[in-house]
């Protein structure tokens, strides 16, 4: 069954949404959208680094994404003006990455697969990595769930309860870097943040508790993934952007339904 590239692609999309649903909810609650962008864009630099050192692409992106995420989290903890800082870091990382990748002629033609993903070409081992990474992120979030929620609601309340908000922020940063490494193949560096934010934002319309929002985001993410795959096959459109198009359509529908 896994021999079919379509089955692999579908499973990869569903696996990714297990991580992006709950993590995307935190990204929204904590207003980290731009933060997600900076981390995701840094992944392109990670691709170049991996090619230069002959390391696996996944390891390169994970390393650079983690470095970027930790840097940004450190700066924000020190009270930098995040809007500007993130704007500088996110776009510089992308530009440096694109320039660096251009030194590898073999990749040049392949560049769009890193920017927009290449879910139809997911191999068995890559599928395994997607599920492994997503389950790791999901496990991490479930394990820290109560503390993460408390720290998100109020750092002071967390402190008073003996929870270190900085540690919980670090947990989210690590989770974000993992998701970026996993999602690069599926939706590409430019649209990872969209995959985090849009399903979770759509889920907000129905949810009454943080848990229901996270679970609904997983479902909407999976539906977007499968729907985008279908759209891509039907209209021969690029798959990564198609997934986000379906997610955006779901968001629009849920927003309207909520009004009524």
């Amino acid at each position: 069954m896994l021999d079919d590239f379509l089955v692999r692609a579908g499973l990869a999309a569903v696996g990714l949404s297990l991580a992006t649903g709950p993590l995307g909810s935190f990204v929204i609650w904590r207003r980290m959208a731009y933060f997600g962008d900076a981390t995701a864009h840094a992944a392109v630099l990670g691709v170049a680094l991996a090619l230069a050192t002959d390391l696996p692409i996944g390891l390169g992106t994970l390393t650079v994404a983690l470095a970027m995420a930790v840097t940004v989290a450190g700066l924000s903890a020190r009270g930098w003006a995040m809007d500007t800082t993130l704007g500088v870091l996110a776009h510089s990382a992308l530009a440096f990455g694109l320039v660096a990748v251009s030194f590898f002629p073999a990749v040049r033609t392949d560049l769009s697969s890193y920017l927009f993903g290449d879910i139809l070409a997911v191999s068995r081992s890559e599928l395994g990595l997607v599920w492994l990474g997503s389950l790791a992120v999901l496990g991490l979030l479930v394990w820290r769930w109560q503390k993460l929620l408390t720290a998100t609601l109020s750092e002071d309340l967390a402190h008073a309860a003996g929870i270190d908000p900085n540690r919980e922020r670090l947990v989210l940063v690590i989770a974000l870097a993992l998701v970026v490494a996993v999602a690069l193949k599926i939706v590409g560096a430019l649209l990872i943040a969209a995959m985090l934010i849009i399903p979770a934002a759509a889920a907000r319309s129905f949810a009454r508790t943080p848990e229901s929002m996270a679970v609904t985001a997983i479902i909407l993410g999976a539906v977007s993934g499968l729907g985008g795959l279908g759209l891509s096959l039907w209209q021969d459109t690029p798959t990564g952007p198609s997934i986000i198009v379906v997610a955006a359509a779901l968001f629009a529908v849920t927003s309207v339904v909520r009004r009524i």
């Binding site: 929204i28 609650w29 207003r31 109560q146 503390k147 929620l149 408390t150 998100t152 609601l153 109020s154 002071d156 309340l157 967390a158 402190h159 008073a160 309860a161 003996g162 929870i163 270190d164 934002a201 907000r204 949810a207 009454r208 508790t209 943080p210 848990e211 229901s212 929002m213």
Partner: protein, 265 residues
Amino acid sequence: MPELPGAGMSLPGTALIAAEHVCVRFGADEVLHDISLKVEPGEIVTILGPNGSGKSTLLRALLGIVPVAEGRLLRRAGLRIGYVPQRLTIDRTMPITVRRFLSLPTRVTDRAAADALARVGMAGQEAEQMTTLSGGQLQRVLLARALLGKPQLLMLDEPTSGLDQPGEAAFYRLIEEVRHQTGAAVLMISHDLHVVMAASDRVICLNGHICCEGTPRVVSTAPEYRALFGLGTQGALALYRHEHDHDHDDGHPHHHRPQHEHDHA
């Protein structure tokens, strides 16, 4: 519990929490200077001071949120603190019911949650969204959450800042009721003079350092207090002053202490 310098060391006498010559600095600014205080079981202590006097910082230092530059903090071993912050702004993007909020960070049973809500006058409001609560309701839910930890000490940071006057008076009555029912000590911050003083056993007047402290009556006549807050509140104080029928040990050595007149019933 957060790491506190000296936390767990033996406390003088029966006190729950104490600060000894504590200084807090933000960069070169000394926000709090030479603060010594302690809170005994079951008493209601109010920290009073103008804006920028370091009230919130003092509470946050006692909680271990703000690091102490000098001096030390002492806590009774295993002390359970319930904290009610000044305000809680819940981002509208987060859906969360009152019931779910009460289970953070420690999960509580439905029964315990219902009891805590009933105690603060919010019975049956479990399904409400936190973001739709009024200021007074939110304060009550925050208090309910703090009570679920069965605190020996409640710490409240300007708990009534979002309330109108009747709401404020009702909230302080609630605090006193809770003290009666649970025996918890209360340490709270206020900038308002009348109602708070009536509800307190002891008032600490703060302006970067401790200007004066004592019973509400003593503090309201202290020259340091008048210098900070003016004289206009005397009439109101007389109206609100009430008698407490228990004793204080006046073991609070401090050079700013005003002349105490002992007139406890």
